[in-house]
Chain length 198, copies 4
DNA sequence: GATGAATGAGGTTTCATTCAT
DNA sequence: GATGAATGAAACCTCATTCAT
C-alpha cells in the first residue's frame, strides 16, 4: 500500500528536523567554522546527498537553524509576557523567563538563547545582510528609556545598560553550556536587575 | 664569524612578536578554526616555513599567543592594584582597570581581555590540560566571600556572582570588538558593581 | 532510489583494489618514504579525496596493502603444501613455490614476497604493534628443528639457519625486482637447500 | 695565539667526519628518503649552514658517505686476503672476514657492509651513473668460474650463485642491524659455502 | 527521495636549500 | 669557517560540494 501524501510529508519533516537539531548542537558547541558536515550527517544519520537535498550548503543550513529553530523558540519563550506593564516589570519578566530556560536541565534551551544573542551582538558573517538584526536590542532600548521615564531605572546611558544586559545573558548561556549543568550556578534575576535600578 | 647570540636573539624575538601579534588579532576576530595560517604569515610578512620554524603548529601558535601575549598583559594590568584593601575596593579597582582597557581606542586591549576570559570560562579545547585554568576565578570567589563577610556584598551565592561578573565583562569585550570603537558604549563600573552590593 | 548495497560494494571494491595495486607497486619500488600519494592517485586514476575516503592516511594505506594484498597472497601461495611430510620436504616445497613466484614474468609476485619478508625481518616502523609479526619465522624454526631431529639437517644453530634462509630469499626478491626479469638468474632451490643439509 | 694550519685542518676534518658518521647511521637506519637533514645536523651538532658548506646537498652527502666511509672500509676489510689461492679459499676468506664484521658488537660494521651491497644490488638512484658499480660482482663471478674449473664448485649458473651469495649477505647485514646485536645469530660461513660446493 | 562515491580547492605541515652576517 | 634565520616548493590531509544512479 503506497503511503499517503501526509505520511510522506511527515517523514520528510522528521528528517529535516533531525538534521536541524544536530546542526544546532554542533554549531553551538564548536562554532560555525569548526563544524564539518560529516559530523552533522553522522549525527542525523543521513547521507551527504540528503543534507544537500534539503539545504543548499553550510551557510543555508546555519540560517535554517536560526530561522526554524532559534527565532521561533525565542518568540515562544517571550510570548506570555505582557508588554503593557511598567517597563521594569516587563524586563524583569523577560529576564526571569530566559534565566529559567538557561537553568533548565535540557541544554537545548541554552543553545538557542546563546545562538540568538550571538547573532544579535555580532557584526558579522555572511548572514549580516540576510538577517535584519537587532530588533530585540531596539526593543530593549525603548523599554529602558521608558523605565527611566517611569522613575525606576538609573540615569546611565541606555546603550550601556542594554549592552551590559545582553552581554551578561549571552555570557551566562555560554558558561552554562561549556561548564555543564551541575557546576553552573545561575545568578538570580534580582542580582541582574540591580544594574538597572536606581 | 657567526652572528652573536644577542643578535640572533633579537632578530628572533622581533619576528616572533610580529607573528604573535598577527595571530592574536586573527584568533580573536575570527576564532581558532576560521583562522588560516596563510593570513597570519601574510600579516606578519613571513613565510610558512618561518612560522613553523618557531611554532610546531597551529595549536602551539595559539598557546603561545595566550602565554606570551595575553597572560602577561593581564598580570601587568592588575599589578598596580592593592589587594590589602577591603574586598569591594579591590574588585572595583580591578573592574575599573579592565573597563578602562576595554574602552581604550587601541583595540588590542579588548582582544587580550576577551581571549583571557574566553579561556577561563570555557571547558575546552586542546589546551585544557596544558593550561592551569581558573586561577582568576578562584581569586574572585575569595574576594566575593570576603566582601560578604565585610558586610558590603549581598548574600547571593558567590559562584553565581562570580560567573555573572566574568560573563558580563567577556560579553562587553566581545561586543566592543565586534561593534567597533565608536558605537560601543561601555557601562560605568558602578552599574556593574551594583550586582554585588547589598 | 538509491543504489543497492551490492552495487556500492562493487564500485567500492574495484576502486579500492586499483588504489591498493598502485600503492603496492610504489611502496615496493621506492620505499615507504619516497612514495608520494600524488603518484598513487595518478596511477590509480583517482582524486586525493577518494584515497582519503577509503584510507585514513599514508600509514593506513600501507597497512592495507599488507593486509589485503600481501598476506593473503602468501597464504594462498603456501596453501597447497602438506606440512605432514618430513621437514626437509616441507621446506623444500615452500622454497620451490616461492622461487617459482619470484622467477615468474609477472613482477607482482616478487613485490609481495619482498614486502612480506621485509616486514618480517624488520624491527620497524609504525606497524610494529598493529602487526603480529614473525609467525612465519616461528614456523620455520620449528621445521628446522624437526629436520634436525629427523636427521636431515646439519646442527648449526636453528636461528642462524632461519635468518639466513629468509634473508637470502628477501635478497633474491629485491634483486629480481631491481635488476629486471631478464638479467635475473634465480638460483635453483637445491643450491639453497644445501645450507640446511648435513 | 692563533691556531696553526694543521690545527685548523684537523678541526675541519673532525667536523666533516662527525657529519659523515651521523649521515651514515641515518641513511642505513631510515633509508635515503626518510632521512632529513635536520636530524643529521642535530646528531652531528652542527648548523645547516656548515653542512652545506661541506656538501652541496643531500645527494652529495650520500655520495660522500659512500666514497669516504663505505668503500674505504670494504677495501680495508678485504686487503689482507690473498687472491693467489684457490678460488674456494679466496671466497671463504672474504666471507669469513665479512661475517666477522657483521657479528661485531659495533654496529657500524654492518652499516657499511649493508650500504655497500645495497648499492651494488640496486639498479637505481641518482648515483647510478656517478658510480661505476658492480666491480665486486664482476670479481665474484670470476672467482666462481675459477672455482668451478678447479673442480670445487657445483655447476649451477655462475650468475645465480653470485646473486644468491650477495643477497644473502646483504640480508644478514640488514637483519643484524634491525634485529639488534643480541638477538642476531649469525650463520657460520660453512653453511653459506655449501651453496657453492659440489 | 535517498545514497555514498567522487571531486578538487585549499588548508596544514615538512624539509631541502639559501643567505646575511 | 660557522651560525641559524628565512624561504618556498611540494608533501600530506580535510572538507564543502557535486553527481550518477
Amino acid at each position: 500500500m503506497p503511503k499517503t501524501k501526509e505520511q510522506f510529508e511527515e517523514i520528510r519533516n522528521e528528517r529535516i528536523d533531525k538534521i536541524l537539531e544536530s546542526a544546532l548542537r554542533l554549531f553551538v558547541m564548536k562554532g560555525y567554522d569548526a563544524v564539518n558536515l560529516d559530523e552533522v550527517t553522522k549525527e542525523a544519520k543521513c547521507s551527504h546527498g540528503l543534507l544537500y537535498h534539503y539545504f543548499k550548503g553550510k551557510d543555508e543550513l546555519y540560517l535554517a537553524v536560526i530561522n526554524k529553530k532559534v527565532v521561533p523558540y525565542i518568540k515562544e519563550t517571550l510570548q506570555g509576557i505582557s508588554f503593557e506593564q511598567k517597563a521594569k516589570y516587563v524586563i524583569h519578566d523577560v529576564l526571569k523567563e530566559i534565566l529559567k530556560k538557561i537553568k533548565a536541565v535540557d541544554e537545548k534551551n541554552s543553545w538557542k538563547i546563546y545562538l540568538y544573542l550571538n547573532i544579535h551582538l555580532q557584526k558579522n558573517l555572511f548572514l549580516s545582510s540576510a538577517q535584519e538584526k537587532m530588533p530585540m536590542f531596539i526593543k530593549l532600548l525603548e523599554l529602558i528609556k521608558r523605565g527611566q521615564e517611569e522613575g525606576d531605572f538609573n540615569d546611565h546611558n541606555e546603550d550601556e545598560l542594554a549592552i551590559s544586559l545582553l552581554s551578561l545573558i549571552k555570557g551566562l548561556a555560554f558558561t552554562r553550556i561549556h561548564i555543564g549543568y551541575k557546576r553552573f550556578k545561575c545568578p538570580n534575576s534580582d542580582i541582574i536587575m540591580k544594574m538597572l535600578y536606581k
